[in-house]
């Protein structure tokens, strides 16, 4: 599949009903089609032409809807954005979930229905998603233009007798509710585990307890203000999300980021990935109650946090990014020093790995639990280490490179088993690759500017990065005054939480926290 040929393929396949515009610089095929063509076109993109589903972006114009379905493929295939429009009054669109069998779009359509009031015909279950029915009445559409984001919404008519939906109706079946506050130091999320005894037969995840409506808050703010939100809505991966936002702005303005800033960005992004993976390893060790290994991984994470703090001033890399480059330069010597520290941490991380590999009590807990099969990973368009442990190797750094990743040598680790152990192995393998990239990034540091002037103008663009947990997409629309008119964040945790219940089902209760930890999911990233 070549992105240049796709235009003929689409316009030939649906003559008169789909128009295609190819942007060679950004490698984007923008397809405008009718509602009747949407399902068929998306189905062929996903199932026949091997595109992954990135996300659905709803835009409300002055008098019309624009729904943008974003797909991405391997390097040559580039991006496809399928656009469907309709007048504001006609807010019913065909669902691509069941008919086109793109399950990855399930939560996107549910979210759009909740926040915009757009309906999707053929979707099996809408409602009670972002806006919990026990807190909000139906018919509230907070992402619509007229809705006041700053004022508290006093008129509430919640569903007083809201109860979770039950699926298991065996004799003796019951629901075990967990959360939103559970265990020691955990994020707020609610699980409903249905069972008749030992095994979890069905599990459901209820998210959005932490919904801060970042996308709504961004509207009408300047790019500088929204950058603060982009960095702070999911701060364990702050740099990756800030970078995706800045890349979207740079694409709108057509600005080139100086070479030194590009290399520094890669260096910092990989430092963040290494730290996040060390934290994920610690969580996995902790869930299996392997105390010494937990402490060892905790030491590594703290050392990387300190290395980040020493290099940049902030342990989570806040306040470094700016549209057009970086807010401040970092000394090459200091980067070398940080690289040395990262290398030292990596060598001890690999020692930890080799010891975990021969700890049978540990392996018994994570091998063959929480299995995600490759076909599921593909159907749900999973991302990040979770996808790469299930045989899906699509990594944005390789598939759609940005910030100069195309000039670095690295491998994309791949495992096929899809169990907890495979996910752990991918984390270790990626940590190795991160240090390899950091080494090349430091070598590529040339003298020069770290920030290019940027002239923000009206427009819209997508920024995409491979965040530590997987592919993150930031869609930014700017108005004539350079203020943000639409901001949509598709996060890796949003994609991976969608499939988490499949991994938890058919396993025993005591496996649940272990499966959860091997997924390395962030609630803050999902809830936004």
């Amino acid at each position: 599949m070549n992105c240049g040929e796709l235009k003929n393929l689409i316009e030939g396949g649906w003559p008169e009903r789909a128009r295609c515009r190819f942007d060679a610089a950004r490698r984007v095929n923008e397809v405008t089609c009718e509602r009747a063509t949407l399902v068929d076109l998306c189905r062929r993109l996903f199932h026949e032409w091997d595109f992954s589903f990135a996300g659905l972006i709803v835009e409300e114009g002055a008098d019309d809807w624009r729904l943008r379905y974003v797909f991405y493929g391997e390097r040559d295939a580039g991006w496809v954005q399928v656009i469907v429009g309709a007048p504001l009054a006609e807010n019913v669109f065909p669902s691509i979930v069941v008919e086109a069998r793109i399950y990855a779009a399930d939560w996107h359509e549910r979210e759009a229905e909740d926040l915009f009031g757009v309906r999707f015909e053929g979707h099996p279950r809408l409602g009670d998603f972002v806006l919990h029915d026990d807190a909000w009445q139906e018919g509230v559409a907070p992402m619509r233009r007229g809705f006041d984001a700053e004022a508290a919404m006093r008129d509430r008519r919640p569903e007083a007798d809201w109860r979770p939906r039950r699926v298991v109706h065996e004799p003796g079946a019951f629901v075990m509710p967990i959360g939103p506050k559970f265990s020691g130091v955990t994020e707020s999320v609610h699980f409903l585990l249905e069972t008749v005894g030992e095994d979890v037969i069905r599990s459901a995840t209820r998210l959005f307890y932490k919904w801060r409506a970042v996308e709504k808050l961004a509207e009408g703010k300047t790019a500088e203000e929204v950058l603060l939100l982009a960095e702070r809505f999911a701060a364990t991966t702050a740099f990756a999300h800030g970078l995706a936002f800045c890349q979207a702005l740079e694409a709108i303005a057509g600005a080139d980021v100086p070479a030194r800033a590009r290399a520094l960005r890669v260096f910092l992004a990989e430092l963040e990935r290494l730290r996040q993976h060390a934290g994920a390893v610690q969580e996995i060790c902790e869930s299996t109650a392997l105390v010494v290994a937990t402490s060892q991984a905790g030491i590594l994470e703290e050392e990387l946090l300190r290395a980040s703090g020493k290099l940049t001033g902030h342990r989570y890399l806040f306040g470094l990014l700016a549209p057009g480059g970086l807010l401040c330069d970092l000394a090459t010597g200091a980067c070398r020093e940080a690289l040395g520290e990262a290398k030292a941490v990596l060598s001890r991380m690999l020692e930890l790995e080799s010891q975990l590999r021969i700890s049978s009590s540990f392996l018994d807990r994570i091998e063959e639990v929480g299995v995600i099969f490759p076909r599921t990973a593909r159907a749900y368009s999973l991302v990040g280490p979770v996808a790469r442990a299930s045989g899906l190797a699509r990594d944005l750094r390789r598939a759609q490179p940005y910030s100069g990743y195309e000039s670095f040598e690295f491998d994309v680790p791949l495992e096929e088993e899809g169990d907890g152990y495979a996910r752990l192995r991918v984390l270790f393998a990626e940590a190795r690759q991160s240090v390899r990239i950091m080494e090349q990034a430091v070598a590529a540091l040339t003298e020069g500017e770290t920030r290019a002037p940027i002239n923000l103008r009206a427009g819209a663009a997508l920024g995409a990065v491979e965040a530590p947990r997987g592919a993150a997409f930031h869609w930014v629309g700017l108005d004539d005054g350079g203020r943000v008119s639409r901001y949509r964040i598709v996060t890796p945790s949003f994609a991976n939480w969608h499939s988490f219940h499949l991994a938890a089902e058919k396993f025993a209760f005591q496996d649940f926290p272990i499966i959860l930890s091997t997924f390395d999911l962030s609630v803050a990233e999902n809830d936004r």
Binding site: A135, D148, A149, E150, A152, M153, P180, K181, F182, S183, G184, V185, T186, E187, S188, Y209, K210, W211, R212, A213, V214, L217, E224, E225, L228, R232, F233, A234, A235, T236, A238, G279, Q282, V292, S295, Q296, G298, I299, E302, L305, A307, G309, K310, G313, H314, R315, Y316, F318, G319, L327, C328, Q355, I358, S359, S361, S522, V523, A524, E525, D527
Partner: protein, 252 residues
């Protein structure tokens, strides 16, 4: 299994000397800005702060640490910048200290803490988690994390308190036995941070709960959270949450 024991022993002691000794490792804190005399530039500098943490009067800048989100816009990309100080003893008493005050002697070496995430971005929570790793090891001070409100003496709340978490947070606080204290951690829990004020977020935990100790920072480093807990039990004196140029910040 013996391999793990050997490995643990070989690692040696990593734990910080704080609070009884010094801690000089680089990168343990993001630091905070310091106010001062800036003359005609004061208004411009204070105007750069996106969360209104900086206020100026007569050419002097004062800092409200509860609002600072470490965006570094008052020090990076400006000609004359605010001074920046390291350190981590940032926690102050708030609310009605004369009514509740610090927890007394019975709690000073045995404190059970319930951590509630009320919309946190993940960073504050991650820093709380670091308190249990060998570098900080808060067990040595008699501080323990508990999963149940029935055993908790301190409710440690992070995040700006989202709409969907408000009920849960109130219920958790009600379920705790007295005497109890609330420690709010991070700029979001103190002022709403970058998320306030909106239709789903208020201006921090004090709108929902009686907050006793406030720990500034975005996120506060583990040592600052430790200081907040020491303040809650009365083992360390609190510090002011707002610095004014006439009253420089106390350094111990």
């Amino acid at each position: 299994m013996s391999r793990w024991v050997v490995r643990g022993i070989r690692t040696g002691i990593k734990t910080t000397g704080y609070p009884s000794g010094p801690e000089h490792a680089p990168g343990v804190t993001p630091g905070l800005p310091v106010g001062g005399e800036f003359g005609a530039e004061a208004a411009g500098l204070a105007g750069r702060c996106p969360t209104h943490a900086l206020a100026h009067a007569n050419g002097k800048i004062s800092v409200d640490y509860r609002r600072c989100v470490h965006c570094y816009r008052c020090v990076r990309g400006v000609e004359r910048s605010l001074a920046w100080r390291a350190g981590w003893e940032w926690a102050g008493l708030t609310g009605e200290p004369q009514v509740r005050g610090q927890l007394g002697r019975p709690f000073q070496r045995s404190l059970h803490i319930l951590v509630v995430d009320a919309g946190d971005c993940g960073a504050c929570l991650n820093e709380v988690k670091q308190l249990n790793n060998p570098y900080y090891n808060m067990h040595r001070l008699g501080f323990f994390i508990t999963p149940t409100p029935r055993h908790a003496d301190v409710l440690l709340v992070v995040g700006p308190v989202t709409d969907h978490m408000r009920t849960a947070l109130k219920k958790i606080h009600d379920a705790m036995p007295t005497p109890k204290r609330v420690v709010a951690v991070g700029a979001c829990a103190l002022s709403g941070g970058v998320f306030a004020e909106s239709f789903v977020c208020g201006k921090g935990a004090s709108e929902v709960l009686p907050v006793d100790v406030e720990v500034p920072g975005n996120p506060p480093p583990p040592l600052a959270i430790l200081h907040g807990l020491l303040v809650a039990v009365g083992r360390t004196p609190p510090v002011p949450l707002v610095s004014t140029p006439s009253e420089p910040y106390p350094e111990r």
